[in-house]
């Protein structure tokens, strides 16, 4: 069992599966295909991200360094939160980037989304956590790998 602490940007509790991206998450490229189809589950469609490509990322904890890519990114996050197909948590090892931050705020203020967002968990977090792990996320920003 290993604990990591980060900054809470959108609080909440979660216990369950996770998926890990060691690459920057290209928000538009990852979510666009499923969003266009209106799928109930997002199958990550970013061909440049072998960690996520083709995997279901709805409803689980997504561990990542930061987001990258198109500036539609924040709005895309807002849209998937409004469709309730978002990952349950976004757990950033680094400080959150401006697009993910915008998406978090848009989702919280305009969609009343319950997405959990924590940043600054540290490089060790991303080096330690694996797709097979179960995570427990607390409202104070503690992430425990069970």
């Amino acid at each position: 069992m290993k604990k990591f602490n980060g900054r809470v940007l959108a609080p909440g509790s979660y216990k369950g599966k996770c998926i890990v991206s060691h690459y920057g998450l290209n928000t538009l490229a990852t979510f666009q295909s499923s969003a266009i189809k209106g799928s109930k589950n997002v199958i990550a469609s970013d061909q440049n991200n072998p960690d996520l490509y083709g995997k279901n990322i709805t409803g689980i904890a997504l561990c990542l360094p930061q987001t990258i890519g198109s500036t539609t990114g924040g709005m895309v996050l807002q849209v998937i939160c409004s469709m309730k197909t978002n990952p349950a948590c976004l757990l950033f090892s680094e400080s959150i980037d401006s697009l993910a931050a915008a998406g978090t705020v848009l989702a919280v203020v305009w969609e009343k989304s319950d997405i959990i967002v924590i940043d600054g968990l540290g490089k060790e977090f991303l080096e330690t956590v694996k797709d097979t792990d179960t995570l427990e996320v607390s409202p104070d920003g503690t992430v425990t790998i069970l």
């Binding site: 290209n26 295909s33 061909q47 709005m75 807002q78 931050a101 203020v109």
Partner: protein, 432 residues
Amino acid sequence: MYTPKMKLTKEQQEILEGKQGEVKAKIMETIVRYGDIFDAPELVAVTHPCCHLVTSFGMPLLKPVYRIMDQMINEGIKVPGGFTMDPRPLDYKNVKCSPLERLVFDLVMYGKQKDYEEQLTKLGLVDKDSFTCACYFKENANIPKKGDVISWAESSAVNYANSVLGARCNRNSGMIDIFGAAIGFVPKFGLVTDEGRKATWKVTLKLTKMPEAQILGSAIGMKVLEEVPYVVGLDKWIGTELNDQALDFLKDFGAATASNGAVGLYHIDKLTPEAKEQGEKLLAKDYKEYVIDDAELERVYKNYPVMWKDKTKEGNLAFIGCPHLSLSQLNEWTEKITKALKDNNKKKVQIRTIICTAPKVKEVFMKTENYEKLMQTGAKLTCICPLMYSNNPLTKKRRIVTSSNKLRTYTLARYYKTDELINIISGRKEVK
């Protein structure tokens, strides 16, 4: 009500409290919360009032966007300085589609385009020809001055405005762009501040030939992600003056840094405005280093995945102009295509070829001799966003080839260097 961490003026606080309406209060809350995440001490005024918005496509799934825009219209909120937009997704006249594709585009993908454009007009769209990702072309005239604070989105436009024009803008998301412009303030953090504009990477070029702008940008973007690079050695290839050739190179280079990474600002030694003034003083303490030689660029290029079902087949649709081509690039591509066809004893392009530019650039180009010359090759000229066209699930059946690294990143398009793409278009067989 949200309690801000940053210091607000009396007017800003009153907006947040709802004294200018509920919707404006939520817009202010969004901007303030966004700034608070980055410990912005205050909001700063937008000094170049013309905004640029990234969300130009009327996808039915963007219900939250349409809902918010309706709320803004109903409360009488408008962007005071107006705004330009990213390109439209469709142009059936010049980019033909099958009946099935048209059905998918009209009913599924972009079924709200007409309604959305009506909303945009009410909110301050400059005019019907303002749809381009390159709003900073002189023909479009949305050109901030050095030091101007702007509220824009579109990764390539923000990247260009910060780096080439010296304006100040964070990598805002869609919606944050129009919110900042509508209330006239953006949070003071990141690329809006002097400190945030310091380079944390020094990239040294040790190249023996002129690099492809889009591969160099891709290599740097993938390495530095959202940090600021200071690039040394590019002046050897594109000079020390911001002439048409340098501006075109930087547009394409920057778009690749932004889409393959998340670069919002770069400095080019001896060329871009802040680098010319401050030189290596722009480098932050403890900067990291990245050396790029010919082998590194080739490694990056060879590693692009090919996502076609049958990788052995040849491309059957070429897209050129993502970001949109400038007038000088249109002339250059016209010359290259016509020469390659002539050399190859061909009159027409050998695969369907779509060239993308801004509506106001197209208007100017159509008055030149080169327009007729280009049309005679069979290539088509359009003002759409090739990315929006290629996102249609049915286009997976097409084997799109492109010289745009942004298009490669977001679609199944295969990237080729400029000369290779010319060979494909003209039917030469010297392709990898």
